[in-house]
Symmetry: C2
Subunit: 530 residues, 2 copies
């Protein structure tokens, strides 16, 4: 059973070791364990539905509550405090494209607003229910979670939009294929959600972003079905796939996704390399990327993330051994960990690793073998579970991410962390901020920062603190020329910053697209742009 007010399955826990607790205490002080609301308390706040239950519309308050929020910081505060705010009037859970079309038509008849629901993992408020006179309907794709067609010759696979990562790969494995899209939310997020939020997986270096994997699909707009070209490539005008990618529900319901798949790689491994400094690591990351070593991933943690990861992972013995070894190799203070991944034939992965390690060595990188890489790979989707454990220990956590060109990577990282720390000076509190770069491109990389701070013990206090944090770090991002999001999307939390990269005319263009396909503005209004 999925947690109703946190991340992951209820049976799945991330335990904070005593050492991890000591580490946090020394960094930011004792946590203040929370008093979370029960689901019954939360349910008391659910208003009556304004629509009649119908064949396609379920008005059960519990169901509506469970579809009302994602995983953003405001979503967490809402869920933990039981103060959910408005929830949809009904939830439709179509089992097919045709049923989805019926649900959309019914919503249209009601003059309702539709909020498409995929895996409920949005961290930017894509699912927020607006306050207003129009009824609101969630159309959830949780029953559209299967492989519908597989074309081996064209390496194309069609899925229901609500198919989450593990089901995708399990069903493809039977055909000897894989998609290779592994965002951290992989266990719950869905292929439809990935497309409409322009998601990127941890191994995008090899498998590509969702833009590269999305071949075609079925989009139901309020004006009817939009055809999305299915040729392998085309110069026939604008590529309409690109109008759907990142549209965040504003253009219609994406019900099915045809994706470009590959053969399963014969071999895959992950290795860790330690660098004496962040700057050395960044230069190595750039050199490896621009040499076009065909790795499947590359991730570089800054010194605080490196220390935090090792401490929170709780590998006390491993760390002791590692520090002795690194010390002998001349790496002590300020060490930064890089994890690289290689996938392919046995020979190819060996060659890639050799090439990458040879370049790393030029920048004084020390290869420490497979153990840490393996451990990273094993826990790659467990990061969000840590948020549960931190919360229970009285700490709040959030993340921001961007992408910048290589010359801006270090300054952006430092500016984000400095902005986050400054936010808490006034409160006489400390911020534990750490960062990695990943998703490397010849042109630049993504920069991903995590913030841990003490809860105030009060939802309003937490939100006030977070609002200041979000504003400061987002401003730091746009001031450094970064995109407001490399992989999370815009939703409501990032919408105020979009103007910096799109300009007023660019936003007009996005608005014009939505207006054309959704003249009544019924599709997820308020998200992406206003």
């Amino acid at each position: 059973m999925r947690r109703w007010n946190g991340w992951g399955d209820e049976s799945d826990h991330f335990e904070l070791s005593d050492d991890a607790r000591d580490f946090l205490r020394a960094r930011i002080g004792d946590g203040r364990p929370p008093h979370d609301a029960t689901i019954d308390e939360a349910l008391r706040g659910v208003a009556d539905s304004r629509v009649h239950a119908a064949a396609r519309f379920d008005t059960d308050p519990r169901l509506r509550l469970l579809h009302a929020r994602g995983q953003s910081f405001p979503d967490w505060v809402a869920m933990k405090s039981g103060r959910f705010g408005p929830v949809a009037d009904a939830v439709a859970r179509p089992a097919s494209h045709e049923e989805a079309a019926d649900a959309l038509a019914e919503a249209q008849k009601l003059g309702a607003i539709v909020i498409p629901y995929g895996g409920g993992t949005s961290v930017v408020g894509h699912l927020n229910v607006p306050v207003g006179d129009r009824p609101v309907v969630n159309i959830s794709f949780e029953r559209m979670n299967r492989l519908l067609a597989f074309d081996e010759k064209s390496q194309l696979a069609t899925f229901g939009a609500g198919t989450p990562g593990p089901q995708i790969e399990a069903q493809l494995r039977g055909h000897g294929a894989l998609l290779g899209h592994f965002p951290q939310s992989y266990e719950f997020s869905t292929i439809g959600g990935w497309v409409v939020t322009r998601s990127s997986g941890q191994q995008s270096l090899r498998y590509g972003r969702i833009e590269n994997l999305f071949a075609s699909g079925r989009l139901l707009t309020p004006r009817g079905a939009l055809r999305i070209g299915s040729a392998p490539a085309s110069s026939a005008g604008q590529d309409l796939r690109e109008a759907v990618l990142g549209s965040e529900g504003r253009l219609g319901l994406l019900t099915e996704v045809t994706a470009r798949v590959r053969r399963l790689p014969a071999s895959e491994d992950f290795h860790a390399v330690f660098f004496p400094s962040w700057e050395a690591g960044v230069e190595a990351a750039r050199a490896i990327t621009q040499a076009e070593v065909p790795l499947s991933m590359l991730r570089l943690s800054n010194e605080i993330e490196t220390e935090t990861q090792l401490r929170l992972a709780g590998h006390t013995e491993l760390i002791k051994w590692l520090q002795r070894y690194l010390g002998m190799r001349g790496i002590a203070q300020g060490q930064c960990m890089m994890v690289i991944g290689a996938s392919g034939s046995l020979g190819a992965t060996r060659r890639m690793r050799r090439e990458a390690l040879a370049i790393a060595k030029l920048f004084h990188g020390v290869h420490v073998g497979k153990a840490i890489g393996k451990s990273w790979a094993k826990n790659r989707f467990r990061g969000p579970l840590l948020r549960n454990a931190l919360w229970d220990a009285g700490y709040a956590a959030d993340t921001v991410e961007t992408a910048v060109n290589w010359p801006q990577a270090t300054a952006t990282m430092r500016a984000i962390e400095a902005a986050a720390r400054e936010v808490l000076y006034a409160d006489n509190e400390r911020m534990h901020a750490f960062t990695h770069l990943s998703h490397v491109y010849r042109q630049g990389c993504s920069v991903y920062s995590t913030f841990v701070f003490r809860s105030t013990g009060d939802p309003d206090g937490d939100m006030e603190r977070w609002r200041r944090l979000k504003a400061r770090v987002s401003t730091a991002i746009v001031e450094h020329g970064g995109t407001i999001s490399h992989q999370h999307g815009v939703g409501v939390d990032h919408a105020p910053y979009l103007i910096h990269e799109k300009g007023e005319l660019g936003l007009d263009l996005m608005r014009a697209m939505a207006r054309e396909l959704d003249p009544q503005q019924m599709m997820n209004p308020g998200k992406l742009f206003v």
Copy 2:
């Protein structure tokens, strides 16, 4: 000096050998050498300009004539017959973004239509001047042909939109870099033209289509400058680069292009492999592509193209040797030639070649070494010159191209060629049609057909024949689910077929984008869509 009524530089000739002439005569009969108009005759048809010459607007009839046409079949008939049809009232040739902005503002004041002009190599009528009351201005980028900025750390280079291929690579070479975009029109077509027509180069397998190379740029719309995001990647809503790609001048003037470049490869070679049949070659092409051997190109000619290329290239001795060798290896009738290219370090190119040849061998491919591959590479941009030679010998030529998924490749190729041949049955004439596939993707490939037929000796007769040909082969393409263009764009010639892949709603979406940025519909109206 560039030919005013044909392809290429006036000093550059492709000579048809006696053997080539015999080959054509046997295939489609004796050519009827043409009576082409002189430029003076053509100039007599140029109407007076409807605008006053101004600082930015040149109304010289010869200049206007030279910007009035591209290289489509209708353009050729117009140029050869001297019956150009309408030409623009003025030509502006700005030397900078700011001058282009001034020219656009001036055109706006005049209520004029603007036709952006890059290298004049369009083969689908992008440059056609509409008949109507509004004056027409060509804004040509020929003076904006330089490298403006080079960011080595981000591997980004900014060019004036009018920079043609050879100038791009020459200027990058000084930085040890290359762009790697090599369409057949490379010598004359421009980086701005590549972007707005979604061009693809011969080595797109390694370097990517222009979509992958286009990082950002400056687009002047009638409503002002559109910002195009410059982050390496982003999930912040729709990617506005994609609105510009394939916009064919409808959204504004693209004045500068920032492109993602690479380091120059240390080594590059091209090899030829012969297959006993087209089907074997297609299966080999698919297998090599889906094994993700990182070649820079792969091109498979069908049996008629294979024979035609060898005969027209005039390598009589080479052919004799080749046929003896292939005969010994069991390949005779129906042989199909594949050319593969590999670029990279010496070790990497060797490895790719070895991997590709090993797969080819599984499909009975016989490697014949470097000579033919080298000859192909040497002549890769000379194909269009052949059209001059054919015309002078009394033959007309045209091409069509599409992209389809792998299972449709063979049927599409056969249907296009059959449709082309049938067109001339009624005239008791023969069509020489041949095809290759190239631009291979995991999902499918492009299919590119060339048609050679006897001129009627009369422009109206040629056009009537061509219209039937174009309609029949375009219908065959859309009936097989192909895109109406993989690399040439839409212009006016393909506009009627766009509905098959975009649908009415998709066309509405494209129209809405243009209307938003160009409310007066002054930007290249009638192209792409009506």
